[in-house]
Structures are given as structure tokens and as C-alpha cells.
Symmetry: C2
Subunit: 338 residues, 2 copies
């Protein structure tokens, strides 16, 4: 479990849906280990305490993406429910945990497909996309979120090219999205993050599609730093700005964007690149990893339950009521097992 | 001369004012060499042809900054004038060239001081600046342009801090501006180019100050890629957006921004960093090095002749009529020496 949490923290596993899935399996892992007599105890009560502790550690490995605490909370809730059965034993808890983790995994895979299908329908013929960060196979367990919209549109013959923001500081666009799109044979051009405005001004961008780490009840979107300024630029140039995310990224329990915890990462991610200094030693830097795009700048949110439009409070509420997720409050309650 | 041109092309010398000065001295160098009997001939007519050829090569080393062709044209014009004297000899031509290059050098030094003085007067108390690229001592022969405004404001006790865009692809902000500001003891924080919008949204930026490579007759500004989107973001957030440049960067001969030649550099500047790949081998990338900010997004242009405001066609016309510069057409005419 500490290794799973460390993998999430160090971004060895990243992308909101994928860290949710990793958190779910990490929580299940604690249950499986407890059932195998490893861990501190094989007794049901101790097994539940182990799972509880694992869930708490995993859920807080990173703060911004809601998928992580939400998926962990779902597995924990399944374990707690199993623990309430009269004949509960650690094996039953492990089985329940693993089944719920697999269910989340399956749902997220289906979500990628559905997001691609709903999103592609919004894409005009010959579309020139601009995207940010990485939202593909390396951020999910299937075709991705924003990237699923792009690949589905190309599969349907409606794509023309993709401008890929390199996405400093960690270059997820340059390292991951460029690799994934080329591997799929999709025409793309890598651009510095400084080029987006100029591309739009020159009429070279038909739509922006990005992912999300958490979407508040009012439609405000937390996503990789740089997303917000793309949304402002899109608005200025009359370019549609779409956010693509599974319903597991909707967080009706968080009222607005300003309530979303924004991760501050090590400033050395800005002052170095691939381990080499890009600034003089000791240069102070800001490591803010995410920003918040207000709902007013979002043209639509493409989810696996359909395309959500303003007023988002209503459309997000309806979409998330239809979702199976158990939310953070369940995790926070930490009630003692029966 | 080829080494000077290569230094300009490879950015060993960069910054609009500084490549102008380098071009001026490079042109003078051709005259001095001709007078020393090196080069192809020591005769006056051949000396003038040598200077002409050097000027043509230097002026086109980089296309966007007008300072380069304008400064080269001034030195060439001085040499041509000297060649028209009845007793003209190669030594007289060399003397005239060197005097004009030194004059340009002196003017640009004085321009930095004047820009700082005029600009600092615009800066509110406790100002939190945001700047892009490098516009300091390493881009000029003195305190810089935009950076002179910043340092003069701090000298006057009116600065609070500076957000420094790292400025991909070539990281002039991270490598040069961060170094210069820290060396002067000015509080600064390096940020990824993706952070500018978020900083403004959080109310952490009081004004944006950038330099320029060429300012068209209507006030459109060509500057380092990423400048345009900062201007859009500043407008969206009601943050003043100032351009600081000597009158040698004004180009009344270029009607609008769309007439400014924009340099495309090697796409490998985007796919590598400090010589190391940041994207998979063969990734296509866009190497556009500059963009154009329309005059409507510019709050004011701080020059060494004062602060220019809209309507820029008038204020720029007046400021450049007061300037000693000889413009590109003089260079383009290439008339045969008498």
C-alpha cells in the first residue's frame, strides 16, 4: 500500500481516472493481504482496520483529483458492508474489495468509450484540435477522456490535426500525448505552451478539448495548470472549449472551484527538466500544479452519461445522481466497524 | 562579419536592441578591415562594396527585430555619406562607420535609462510585475527595456515582486531574467508559462511589462512567442499591459503587425531542452519564435522619448520622427556608390 501511494504521489501513475483505479486496487490490496494472514491480523475487525488505514493513506496521496478519494471510498464502503454480514470473515472482505475495484476499473473503461462517442458528435469536419496535458491511455485504463474525443473523431473521419501543448512543468503533452497520438497515426504538432494564443489568433484552432481532475457542483473545473488560460483564450477567440471527464470526476459535494484543494508540487519541477537545471541554483519558483476554470468559460462537459451544458448545477446534479460513486464524506466519517 | 552574423543567428547575442548594436559594430568591422588592407581591397570603391555586402548579410541574420536592419542601415548610410567626400579614402569610411556604431551604442544606453525613468512613473506602489522573456542587460547594453522599468521601479521603492515567465522554448526567463533579477536583489518567482492566467485570476499581478522586437506604425507589437496571450489574459483580468522599447524598435515603415516578418526557428528548440529530448524522436513541432499583439491590447508603449498611448499611429509617428534612425528602405535601395 505505501508503494501504491508513493507511485501516485510521484506520478508514476497519473491522470484522474487512473489514480482512482490505482487507489481502488490499492485499497483492495490491503484487504487481500489482511485475508492472507499477512498484515497485522487476519481477524475481521483487524482486517477492516487495515483497510481503513490503507484507504486513508491512499485517498490523500494527491489532493486535487476527486477520482482518488471517491474510488477509495467506494472500495472501503464495499468492505464495510461486507463486514456487517453475520458470517463476515477477512476473505469475504477481500472478495468484496476486489469486486468493487474491478467494477470501478470496468466502469472507467466503458466511460472512455462513451466519452469518445458523445464527444466525437460535437466535433466539426476537418477539426483542428488543441489539447493540454495527457488525457489518453496513460491517464486512464482505455482510450482516455479528452483524448478519447480526439481519437473517436479521427476514427469517424472528422479530425484534421492536433496541436499538443507541451504542458510545462512536467511536459505530459510532449512526453505522453505526443507519443500516444503518433503511435495511433494521428497527425499532431507539438507546441510550446506560449503558442496557444497565437495559434487561435491565426485561425488554426477549431476547438479545445481538455480533461479534468475535479468538477465542482457549479461546473468549475480543476485541471492541469494552464487549462484556465486556454479557456480565457478560447473565449476571446470564439473557439469552443470542451472538458471531457467521466462522471467519477464530477464532485457535487464541492460547491465551487474555490473549494477544490489545489496541489502545490515541488518548485524544482519548474527549475529543472529531466533532472537538469533550467534556472540558476536557488531560483525561487511556484509549483502550483492545477488551476480552476470557471464554468462560464466551459462550452460543455463531455461525460460518459452524455454532454452536460449550462446550467451546470442542474446537469451535473442529474449526471452524478445517476452515477454509482460513493463520495468523500463516506470516507471522512471513519466510523468504527460494527 | 560571418562570425557576427552567426552569433546573432545562434542567439549568442540576442535581444532587439543588442542585435542592433552588434549589427552596427559588425558593419563597422567590415569597414575597418577594408581600411586595414585586409578584405578584398583597400581602395575606397571596393571598401564600400565590402561594407555593403557585410551590411546585407548582417541585416538579414534574423528577420523580426527591426533594430538589426535599422542599425546596420544607419552605419551603411554613414559610410556612403563619407564615400561621397572628394578626398574619401577607406580610413575615412572606417572612421565614419565606427563613429556611427558608437553613436548607436550610446543612444541605446541612454534609451535604457530613459525607458526606466518614464516607465517607473507608471508603476503603482507595491507593484507585483509579470514579465516574459529577457529584456535586461543581456538583451541591451545597459539596464534593459521592460526590465529597466522594473529595476527603476524597485530603485524608487515601488516594486514588491516579479513573476518571471520561464518563456519556452528557449527559457530566456528562467536562464537570463531569473539570473539578472536575483543578481540585483529583486524578489522574483519563476513560473511555468502555463501559470500566468491563474496568477492574474488570483489577483497576484498588478501589471505586465514586456519588451518588443518590432512595433508597427499602428502600434501592433511583435515580441517573443507567448506575449500575445499574456496581453489577452491581461485584458480579460483588467491588468495593464505595457510594452517597453527604445524608439529604435518603432518601425513606422511597417503599417501593421501582419506586415512584420515572423521568425520560424528550428522545431528542435521545442522538442529538446538543453540538448536533451523532451518528446519522442521525430515528433513534429512548431518553431514560431514571435507573435503579434494587436495595438488594442496594449495599454501604453514606454519609450525613451516618453510614454506613447493610443491612437498609436499618431504617437508612434511623432516619436519616430524625433529619432535619428535610418530605416530599412535605405538599406534596401543598394544604390551603386558614386
Amino acid at each position: 500500500v505505501p508503494a501504491v501511494a508513493a507511485a501516485i504521489r510521484s506520478l508514476a501513475v497519473r491522470g484522474a481516472p487512473l489514480i482512482g483505479i490505482a487507489g481502488a486496487y490499492g485499497t483492495a490490496l490491503a484487504a487481500v493481504r489482511a485475508a492472507a494472514g499477512r498484515g497485522r491480523s487476519a481477524r475481521t475487525r483487524r482486517a477492516l482496520m487495515d483497510v481503513d488505514a490503507a484507504a486513508a493513506a491512499l485517498a490523500k496521496a494527491r489532493p486535487t483529483a476527486v477520482n482518488l478519494p471517491a474510488a477509495v471510498a467506494r472500495v472501503l464502503a464495499a468492505v464495510r458492508a461486507a463486514a456487517e454480514a453475520p458470517d463476515a470473515d477477512p476473505e469475504a472482505l477481500a472478495g468484496a474489495a476486489l469486486r468493487e475495484a474491478v467494477r470501478i476499473d470496468d466502469e472507467e473503461r466503458e466511460a472512455c468509450v462513451a466519452i469518445g462517442r458523445f464527444g466525437a458528435a460535437l466535433v466539426p469536419d476537418g477539426a483542428r484540435f488543441l489539447t493540454h496535458c495527457n488525457t489518453g491511455t496513460l491517464a486512464t485504463n482505455w482510450d482516455g477522456t479528452a483524448q478519447a474525443v480526439i481519437t473517436a473523431a479521427f476514427d469517424a473521419g472528422r479530425g484534421s490535426t492536433v496541436w499538443v501543448d507541451e504542458t510545462r512543468p512536467l511536459l505530459q503533452g510532449a512526453r505522453l500525448t505526443a507519443w500516444e497520438l503518433q503511435r495511433r497515426g494521428i497527425p499532431m504538432t507539438l507546441v510550446a505552451d506560449t503558442a496557444a494564443g497565437s495559434l487561435m489568433a491565426r485561425g488554426l484552432v477549431d476547438l479545445v478539448v481538455v480533461g479534468a481532475d475535479r468538477i465542482a457542483a457549479n461546473g468549475d473545473v480543476a485541471n492541469k495548470i494552464g487549462t484556465y488560460q486556454l479557456a480565457v483564450l478560447a473565449k476571446h477567440h470564439g473557439v469552443p472549449f470542451y472538458v471531457a471527464a467521466p462522471v467519477s470526476t464530477l464532485d457535487p459535494g464541492t460547491p465551487t472551484g474555490s473549494d477544490i484543494p489545489i496541489e502545490d508540487r515541488d518548485p524544482r519541477e519548474v527549475t529543472t527538466l529531466n533532472g537538469r537545471a533550467v534556472a540558476p541554483a536557488g531560483t525561487p519558483a511556484a509549483g502550483q500544479a492545477f488551476d480552476v476554470t470557471p464554468a462560464a468559460l466551459v462550452s460543455a462537459i463531455v461525460t460518459d452519461r452524455g454532454v452536460l451544458r449550462a446550467p451546470f448545477r442542474r446537469s451535473i446534479g442529474a449526471a452524478s445522481r445517476s452515477a454509482p460513486s460513493v463520495r468523500e464524506p463516506a470516507l471522512a466519517s471513519r466510523r468504527e466497524p460494527a
